[in-house]
């Protein structure tokens, strides 16, 4: 039984999906082994951009334009989170 209908994807689209998945894995590795807290915040920033782009890719492959609003929401929340973490790294109001 098939819940979500996905069209047949070409080879180049499959390779691009593999590359985006590998980028997520490398970012997660940097998040795990980062020596300082600032490296982890940079990894969070990059992961937010990759999440935005991959939600847009999901909109392409599922064929529904509703996912694009979700991608914009991911971008806004990632930006606000990175700014808040950078303010927290200095320790308080600044």
């Amino acid at each position: 039984m098939q819940i979500v209908q996905i069209d047949a994807i070409s080879t180049m689209q499959f390779i691009s999906l593999l590359l985006v998945g590998g980028a997520v894995l490398l970012t997660l590795l940097r998040f795990l082994i980062g020596p300082t807290g600032a490296d982890r915040v940079v990894a969070t920033d990059v992961a937010g951009v990759i999440a935005t782009v991959s939600v847009a890719l999901a909109a392409l492959f599922f064929g529904s334009a509703l996912y694009l609003d979700l991608a914009l929401l991911f971008g806004v929340l990632s930006f606000v989170g990175v700014i808040a973490l950078a303010r927290t790294m200095l320790g308080g109001r600044r």
Partner: protein, 105 residues
């Protein structure tokens, strides 16, 4: 132009964008310093994200206004975030040096 060629160009843009995102994440993992890490992880990923959104817009031309909004948002906010991070790291190191100046020197 034929529809078939537009499809191939869109797939090529998707491939270029995902390759830049992968190389940016690889630079984020392999670079030795914090500043070079933030440089590799932000510039290449921004370029890859914009190229990949152009590829999606070539596949579905009706969505191009919303995709343009997302691309403009990424182009405006990602350099601001990385600049704020580098500034916070620099001030944190400066405060740390001032706090322990008599021990270091």
């Amino acid at each position: 132009m034929n529809i078939f060629q537009i499809d191939i160009i869109a797939d090529l843009m998707l491939l270029i964008g995902s390759a830049f995102i992968f190389l940016g994440a690889l630079g984020l993992l392999r670079m030795p310093d914090f500043y070079s890490r933030i440089q590799a992880g932000t510039k290449a990923v921004t370029l890859g994200a914009v190229a990949l959104l152009i590829g999606v817009a070539l596949h579905q031309p009706l969505w191009s206004s919303k995709l343009l909004l997302i691309a403009l948002f990424i182009l405006m906010t990602n350099p601001i975030g990385s600049s704020t991070l580098a500034r916070a790291f620099m001030y944190k190191n400066k405060m740390h040096k001032k706090k322990y100046k008599d021990i270091n020197s």
